[in-house]
Amino acid sequence: MKLTTLAATALMAASPAMADLVFPDLSYRTGPYAANGIPFSDGYQDYFTLLNERDGGIGGVPTKVIECETGYNTEKGVECYEATKGEGALVYQPLSTGITYQLIPKVTADGIPMHTMGYGRTSAKNGEVFSNVFNYPANYWDGASHAVNHIMSQGDIAGKKIALVYHNSAYGKEPIRTLEELAKKHGFELMLVPVDHPGQEQKSQWLQIRQQKPDNVIMYGWGVMNQVAIQEAANIRYPMENFIGIWWSGSENDVLPAGDRANGYKALTFHNLGDDYPLYDDLRKYVVDAGKAAGAGDQLGTALYNRGMYAAMLAAEAAKTAQEISGEKDLTPALMRDGMEALEMTEAKMAAIGLPGFGPEFKVSCQNHGGNGLGAVAQWDAEAKSWSLITGYEGSDQDVIQALVDEDSAAFAAEAGIEAGCK
C-alpha cells in the first residue's frame, strides 16, 4: 500500500503540472448598466462551470474564470485587464466598446486575444491589421445592414425616411457611415437622432420623430436609453413593428417596463433565444441545481444570459480548436489566438454541444476575424413575454461593409504603423 502511494506520488511529481485555462470575465454587476451586465456574466461563468462539472474542463484541463468588476467604466476596465493578464488570461471579452478601444493596443502588444462579439471596433474584422482582435460572428455594421435588409424585405425602401436613434457615443455612432452608404445605394433618406447619455429624457427626440414621421426607426441604444425610447415610441403611438433595435437594444430588460405597449418591437440578434435546448438541461442539472450558478439561476434563457453563454461557448470551442491544432492541452494566449483564427462553427458542432440552431454557421480566418456577419430578426411578444425569431440567419451587404472595413483598418494601420499581413 505504502509502495503504491509512493509510486503514485512520484508519478504525479514527474508529470507536468496542468494549469487551469483562465478566462477573465470583465463584468459589471454594479452601476447603471448592472441589469445588463449581470445576466451576461452569469451566462459566461455558468458555461465554464458546466464544462468543469460535466466534462472536467476543456480537453481534461479545468477552466478558471477570474471575475473583475468594471462598472462599465473604461478606466476600471483597463485596470481589470492589467490586474488579470498576468494570471494566464487566454482571452478577454470586455463587453464595452469604450474598454475595447483602450485594450486594442494593449492586447496586441501583450499577445493576448480579445473577442468583442457584436461590439467594439468594427474594422477589427480585418485580421491582417488587428491580429489579436476578433469580432465574430457579426459586428455593428452588419447590424445596420441587417436592419435595412429587413425593411427592404417588407417593401420598396426607395424614397422612405429611416431614422437612426442612437446613443451619442462612439458605439452609437458606429452605424452612421454604413447607413449613409446604404442610403445612397438604396435611395432612402437617413434621419439622425442622437440621444445623450444616459438617455432618461428623450422627449425632444421623439417629438422630432412624431413631427417628421419616419417610416422606420433603427435604434442603437444601451441601458436606460432603450427602455425610455421604447416607452416614448409607445407614447407617440409609433408602430412597433417598424421599430427595430440592434442586439444591444433587444433584451427583456428593454421591453418589459413598457408592458403591453412594447408588443411587436423588433431587435436584431446573432444567436437564438429562450432555453429550449438540450444544453440548458445540463446547465440546470450540473450548475443551477447543484448550487454552483454564478447568479441566482433565474436568468437562463434570457437574451443577455444566452449571449454571455454563447460568448463562453465560442471561447471554449476556440480553446478546443487550439488544443487540436497545437497538440497542447495547456494553452498559452498565443495558442488561443491561433485557435480563434482557425475556429469554424458548424451546425453539426452546435448540435453536438446541445445547441442546435442556436447561432449562425461561420468560419474565421486570418483575413476575416468577423465571421460571416449573419444575423436574424427577433420580435417581442408582450403577452407571452418572450422573443422569437421571425427570420433565419441572413447575410449583410458585404459589398458596402467590406469596403468600409478595408478603409478604416487601413487608416488604423497607417496611424499605428502596422504592416498588414497574416501572422
Partner: protein, 328 residues
C-alpha cells in the same frame, strides 16, 4: 399657422412638462440645503432607493433574499402577496422616515459644526452606501413600476389642438400627472411651512440655527423631519421617473438633471426650484428644436448647464436664492 411655429409650441409645452419633472428632483436638494446647509449628493440615490422599495413592497419581494438564500440555502423570493399602490406608497414613506432617522442618528449627529465640505463628503459616502444597500435588498434587475398613472398621448389635447390648429399636440398623460402631483406637493409644503408649528420651526432653523436652538427648537428633530420630507419628495420623483424608464440603477442619475435647475433657481428657494425647472425644461427643448439640427443634436445635457452658468454670471445666488453678504 406655420407648421414650424406649431411644432415650437408643442416643444415648449413638453419642455414645461419636463421642467416639472426636473423640479421634483431639485426640490429634495433645496429642502435639505435650506434647513441644514448640506448639499445632499445622495438625493438621486434616495429617489432610486425609494422607488426600489416601493416596487419591492408592491410585488411582495423579500428584502435581502439573495443573502438569506446564500446563507441558509433557502429558495425565498416573494411573500406571495401584492400590496395596493397607495398602501405601498404609505409604507415606503414610512421606510424613508426610518431612513431619515438613521441618517441623522448615525451620520449627521456626529458631524455637528463640521465644515460644509465634510457634510457634502458624508452625503457622497451615503449615496454609495445606499446604492449598495438597495442592490442587496431588492436586486439589480429592472422593475416595472405601475402605480396606476396613465401613460401615453393625451387624446383630448391631441384632438382639441388638431381641431383648432390642424395639428394635434403631443402631451404625455404621465407628464400631466407629474404636474398635478408637483402642484399638490408644493402647495402642501407651503401650507406645512407657513401654518404648522413644525413648519415654522423648520423655517426658524433654516434662518438661524443658533437662534432656533435658543428658543428650544430641537435641531435633531428638525433635521430628521426635513430628511423625511426630502425622502418623500425623492419617492415622488422616483415614481414619476421610474414609471418612464422602469426602476433601475440609472435612476440615481436624475440628480444630474437637477443641478442646473438648482444653479438657476437657487439652492434655498422652493419657488426657485419650480421656476428653474421650467426654464431649464423649456430652454433645453427649444434649443434642441431650433439649434440642435444645426450642430448635430443631443444638446440638452450641456445646454442646461450653459444656461445655468449664464445665470450664475449675472446672479450667483440664482434667481430666487438668498444673497450671501458677509461683513468683516
Amino acid at each position: 399657422m406655420p407648421e414650424q411655429l406649431l411644432f415650437a409650441m408643442e416643444v415648449t409645452l413638453n419642455g414645461l412638462m419636463a421642467g416639472v419633472l426636473y423640479a421634483l428632483v431639485a426640490l429634495g436638494f433645496v429642502l435639505i440645503f435650506k434647513a441644514s446647509g448640506i448639499f445632499n449628493y445622495a438625493q438621486g440615490v434616495m429617489a432610486l432607493f425609494a422607488a426600489l422599495t416601493l416596487v419591492g413592497i408592491m410585488d411582495g419581494q423579500i428584502p435581502f433574499a439573495h443573502i438569506i438564500n446564500a446563507i441558509f440555502g433557502t429558495e425565498l423570493h416573494h411573500f406571495g402577496w401584492h400590496v395596493p399602490a397607495l398602501l405601498a406608497i404609505i409604507l415606503t414613506a414610512g421606510v424613508m422616515v426610518v431612513f431619515a432617522w438613521l441618517v441623522q442618528k448615525f451620520i449627521f449627529s456626529h458631524l455637528v459644526n463640521q465644515e460644509p465640505i465634510i457634510l457634502f463628503m458624508a452625503t457622497i459616502g451615503l449615496a454609495y452606501f445606499l446604492e449598495g444597500v438597495g442592490d442587496l435588498m431588492w436586486g439589480s434587475d429592472i422593475k416595472k413600476l405601475d402605480v396606476g398613472l396613465p401613460q401615453g398621448i393625451n387624446d383630448w389635447i391631441d384632438i382639441t389642438t388638431f381641431e383648432v390648429f390642424g395639428y394635434g399636440f403631443f402631451i404625455d398623460n404621465l407628464d400631466i400627472s407629474a404636474t398635478i402631483v408637483a402642484i399638490i406637493l408644493v402647495a402642501a409644503l407651503i401650507i406645512f411651512s407657513q401654518y404648522t408649528k413644525q413648519g415654522r420651526a423648520l423655517r426658524a432653523v433654516a434662518d438661524d440655527h443658533q437662534a432656533a436652538l435658543s428658543v428650544g427648537i430641537s435641531l435633531n428633530f428638525i433635521w430628521v423631519l426635513v430628511w423625511s420630507i426630502a425622502g418623500f419628495v425623492a419617492l415622488v420623483a422616483g415614481i414619476m421617473w421610474g414609471a418612464k424608464s422602469g426602476v433601475q440603477f440609472s435612476l440615481s442619475l436624475i440628480a444630474l438633471k437637477a443641478l442646473p435647475v438648482l444653479m438657476l433657481g437657487g439652492f434655498t428657494s422652493i419657488p426657485g426650484a419650480i421656476v428653474g425647472g421650467l426654464i431649464i425644461g423649456v430652454g433645453e427643448k427649444l434649443f434642441e428644436f431650433l439649434i440642435g439640427p444645426m450642430v448635430g443634436g443631443a444638446t440638452e445635457n450641456w445646454f442646461a448647464y450653459v444656461l445655468a452658468l449664464l445665470f450664475l454670471v449675472f446672479r450667483p445666488q440664482g434667481l430666487f436664492g438668498e444673497k450671501i453678504i458677509e461683513r468683516v
